[in-house]
């Protein structure tokens, strides 16, 4: 298949960027989207031109490194799929494909399609843990947890921190990301003790980092490659209100 790419090129956060066009011919529809970009980059290197910078690592949809906008959607057109798991068969011959970085004030552009998502780490640092030192733990089976709760907590904890939720949100809110971590720990007895401070501190950090407000539009869950649901946000709100009582 042949494709026409328009890619956002930007040298750094301090410099202006713009769209550049590239055409690739005879692309095997069974290769992954990132393998298609590898082909483009090898071509650019051979022409002594600067290759397109993008983040990626595991290429199995779990590390959360990859992620950019494809035709206006985070991670592209396929539901519950990270860019690295997207294949060219999701596109048609002669398609025009537009690639841009995730756009959010809290995610400054590093270069081209690569953005800085360290704000997420700062949200976690402000409370996304159980305060237990190594060696202080009780025997594991002394804390029985209902299977449903453990499964539910797992689903929240499956968030990969890719930032698609922020990029999908019209307000660039990090509510889904924060709510997933708050939920994961709120659902488990281990996380209960610090529940109040956790939600207050994490929400405060989220605001300090410049993420926008949540208006429950749900675009975040719709675009989330791990299908983190809206119930997480409801649970965060409940935890937040509970902390005030």
């Amino acid at each position: 298949m042949n494709i026409n790419l328009k890619i956002w090129r930007q040298k750094s956060d301090h410099q202006d960027g713009g769209l550049r066009s590239y055409r690739l011919e005879n692309i095997d529809p069974n290769i992954s989207f990132l393998e298609m970009l590898d082909i483009l980059n090898i071509k650019l290197v051979k022409e002594k031109k600067d290759p397109v910078a993008f983040d990626h690592d595991c290429r199995e949809g779990i590390c959360g490194s990859c992620g950019f906008m494809i035709n206006g959607r985070p991670h592209g057109p396929q539901k519950a799929t990270t860019v690295c798991q997207l294949h060219m068969r999701a596109f048609n011959n002669e398609d025009n494909i537009l690639l841009e970085p995730f756009r959010a004030e809290s995610f400054p552009v590093i270069k081209d399609l690569s953005v800085d998502r360290k704000a997420f780490d700062r949200i976690i640092s402000s409370g996304g843990y159980v305060a237990v030192d190594t060696g202080d733990a009780l025997e594991a089976n002394s804390i029985p947890i209902a299977k449903e709760d453990a499964d539910e907590a797992f689903l929240s904890s499956a968030c990969i921190g890719c930032g698609a939720c922020v990029a999908a949100c019209k307000n660039s809110s990090a509510m889904l990301f924060t709510a997933a971590k708050v939920s994961h720990l709120a659902l488990l007895p281990q996380g209960e003790k610090e529940g109040k401070e956790r939600v207050v501190n994490m929400v405060a950090t989220m605001d300090e980092e410049g993420f926008g407000a949540c208006t429950n539009t749900g675009a975040c869950s719709a675009e989330c490659p791990k299908e983190i649901g809206q119930t997480n946000i409801a649970r965060l709100n409940r935890e937040f209100i509970k902390s005030k009582i």
């Binding site: 290769i31 290197v45 690592d57 798991q85 780490d121 060696g135 994961h184």
Partner: protein, 640 residues
């Protein structure tokens, strides 16, 4: 040349109480005293994050470095199947002794008894720690922790969180690390590559790094340096490792005097999605846990072109069940991989390339129901379908072995210290616990054992005998020299004005390493590799092209620095494989096999750890650590 006397430093005494006794004899520092010391940790995967968090809890000031944006992106996150622990929750007769024995046997008697026993012992604490952190392991309806079984063992001792165990454990270690970042006990350096280790008076006192955003080369001093930098599977180009996983930090330490042990012990995982075309950038693993319910088979007939579902039962060869009735589909990885290669070489492989075998769930779906299978392996099935465009609920998966893990690594003693004083190595980056073959669900166990429960004690003991640095010493000539060397190397690379992308050279290297130092090796092939690899090196240094500026984000330069080291490592792997004239575990020398095509070990001549010293001018020098077996009897591994 130093004459290394490779002594494990494991204390004498009873195997069962050794670690506890030793631990209590180690020197301690109070948090106030510990606060005077600075610790550098490279890598923030399971081993690095757990070590950083624990050392910070003990009062040390930790500076943690990663080439990733965030610690949560380390490749530990991709581990699927699970983590072993000798909890015996299933009451199936499991014990520390049994886990110890399974691991020693699984490693084909090429690992150190003392280290492996300690690992088995600590396994129980790891589960306690992770549960306390809120890791959502799978549970039974009664609320207790669930277990499943894995290859090479006959008990159920593997704890798991669907097919995302590595993710959940890493998020646990990352949360502990994040808490210490908030406490200002850990400073995290994101997107930094370590390019050298700096020795002062023979001791590791710091590192040289490149900031991957600004391109700036800087030096950092500390009282001790801990490498938690993972494995080197990407020397094969195609592997299940993440794209940026590399050997550079370890290789730079090796060049500075850390011996590299058993480099040719590389694990080929039997259940991966087969290579589909020349553009393939990496391979995807399908968890070994699938072999609990999946049955491996190929057609009995050669070049059978029928669809899998059209081949009747009596024309299928469930070869693992046939050859290994006791373990069946759950034989260890090296055995399953080699047998897959064998049936494909016979012409009975399936799929477009003929290099694949079936992993079939039909029987399990009939007996246990599709919902049961979905609950257990749903995400893996989805991933498979997404990549291959085939539905594994309806048609068997096609799988083939791929490089997955490296047992070899920096040589360390019982304290996990390398042959460089003050330089430790933990997790996959060292060689210590898995011998010639690692059992499934043991990598996560080792990473966390080293990071949470071993190195915090042994590094503290080391530091308690050291005077803390009073100030930053990066103005010392050793640091200035190391920085200058790194800058010169980068400028030399930037000046190679060829026409090849570094990926193209990497792919060529990978092909040689896979063909000659892969699943089966022989003298002719290894000697050929030693002729071919220098040509690749030559090509690399004369024909690559790195556009752009080194003082900027430059992903081609990052790759070039890594591939340069992979080329040198590949040569060492060939030397190591050539030296070991026996077959053991993952190291299968075709010249040394039994009549039934099983590995033929030679304990009389090769019961040693091969540790290699780097030399710029001549061939690497071999030093041997003789392995002592006092508690287990050496025997031929049999899974029949």
């Amino acid at each position: 040349m130093i004459d290394f006397n490779l002594f494990s430093k494991a204390p004498d005494g009873d195997l069962y109480t050794k670690w506890e006794d030793y631990k209590s004899s180690l020197k301690k520092l109070s948090p106030e005293e510990a606060n005077k010391y600075k610790v550098i940790v490279i890598g923030t995967g399971l081993a690095g994050a757990s070590a950083s968090a624990t050392l910070a809890e003990k009062g040390f000031n930790v500076h943690a470095f990663s080439f990733h944006e965030s610690p949560r992106r380390a490749h530990s996150i991709a581990a699927q199947g699970g983590i072993n622990a000798a909890k015996n929750y299933k009451g199936d007769g499991d014990s520390v002794m049994r886990l110890f024995y399974d691991t020693i046997k699984g490693g084909d008697f090429r690992s150190r008894e003392d280290n492996v026993y300690r690992l088995a012992e600590i396994s129980k604490n790891i589960i306690d720690q992770c549960v306390a952190q809120g890791v959502p392991f799978a549970r039974e309806y009664g609320g207790l922790l669930d277990n499943r079984s894995f290859g090479g063992v006959q008990v159920s001792r593997t704890f798991y969180a669907r097919g995302q165990t590595g993710q959940q454990l890493l998020l646990g270690a990352y949360s502990a690390l994040s808490r210490q970042m908030e406490n200002k006990k850990v400073r995290f350096y994101s997107r930094h590559d370590m390019l050298d280790v700096v020795l002062v008076n023979g001791k590791a006192k710091g590192i040289v790094t490149r900031d991957l955003i600004s391109g700036e080369i800087s030096t950092h001093s500390a009282d001790v340096v801990i490498l938690a930098t993972g494995g080197y599977s990407n020397v094969y180009y195609l592997s299940t490792n993440a794209m940026a996983s590399n050997v550079t930090a370890n290789w730079r330490a090796h060049r500075r005097g850390a011996l590299f042990a058993n480099p040719s012990f590389t694990q080929i995982h039997p259940t991966c999605i087969p290579v589909k075309n020349d553009f393939q950038s990496k391979l995807t693993l399908m968890s070994e846990s699938l072999r609990n319910d999946g049955r491996v088979w190929v057609p009995k007939k050669k070049s059978d072109q029928r669809k899998a579902t059209d081949i009747p039962e009596d024309e299928r060869d469930y070869y693992l069940e046939r050859i290994y009735p006791a373990f069946g589909n759950l034989v260890p990885r090296d055995v399953a991989s080699r047998r897959a290669k064998e049936v494909c070489d016979e012409g009975r492989g399936v799929g477009p390339t003929g290099y694949a075998v079936y992993l079939d769930f039909q029987k399990a779906i009939e007996e246990k129901g599709e919902d049961f299978i979905r609950e257990k392996y749903g995400n893996l099935f989805d991933m498979y379908q997404n990549i291959t465009d085939e539905n594994p609920y309806q048609t068997p998966m096609k799988i083939y072995p791929a490089v997955h893990y490296t047992m070899g690594g920096l040589w360390v003693d019982y304290n996990l210290m390398t042959t460089i004083n003050g330089l430790f190595s933990i997790g996959e980056s060292n060689f210590s616990d898995h011998g010639a073959n690692r059992l499934g669900a043991s990598a996560l166990m080792q990473g966390l054992a080293d990071g949470y429960f071993v190195v915090p004690h042994t590094a503290m003991d080391f530091l308690a005998k050291e005077k803390p640095l009073e100030k930053d010493i990066t103005d010392m000539p050793e640091f200035v020299e190391a920085k200058k060397k790194t800058e010169e190397e980068i400028s030399k690379l930037m000046k190679v004005d060829g026409s090849l992308a570094v990926d193209e050279v990497h792919r060529e290297l990978g092909k040689i390493v896979w063909d000659k130092i892969g699943m089966a090796r022989n003298e002719k092939g290894l000697k050929n590799a030693l002729e071919e690899i220098p040509k690749i090196k030559q090509k690399f240094w004369s024909q690559i092209s790195i556009p752009g500026d080194d003082k900027d984000v430059n992903q081609e330069l990052e790759k070039a620095l890594r591939i340069k080291d992979f080329i040198e490592l590949a040569e060492l792997m060939a030397h190591d494989a050539l030296d070991r004239k026996e077959s053991c575990g993952a190291h299968f020398r075709e010249e040394y096999q039994t009549e039934e095509n099983e590995a033929k070990r030679n304990d009389k001549d090769y019961k040693y750890v091969a540790a290699w010293e780097y030399s710029e001018e001549k061939s690497p020098q071999l030093f041997k650590e003789e392995l002592q077996y006092k508690n287990v009897k050496l025997k031929t591994r049999s899974y029949k």
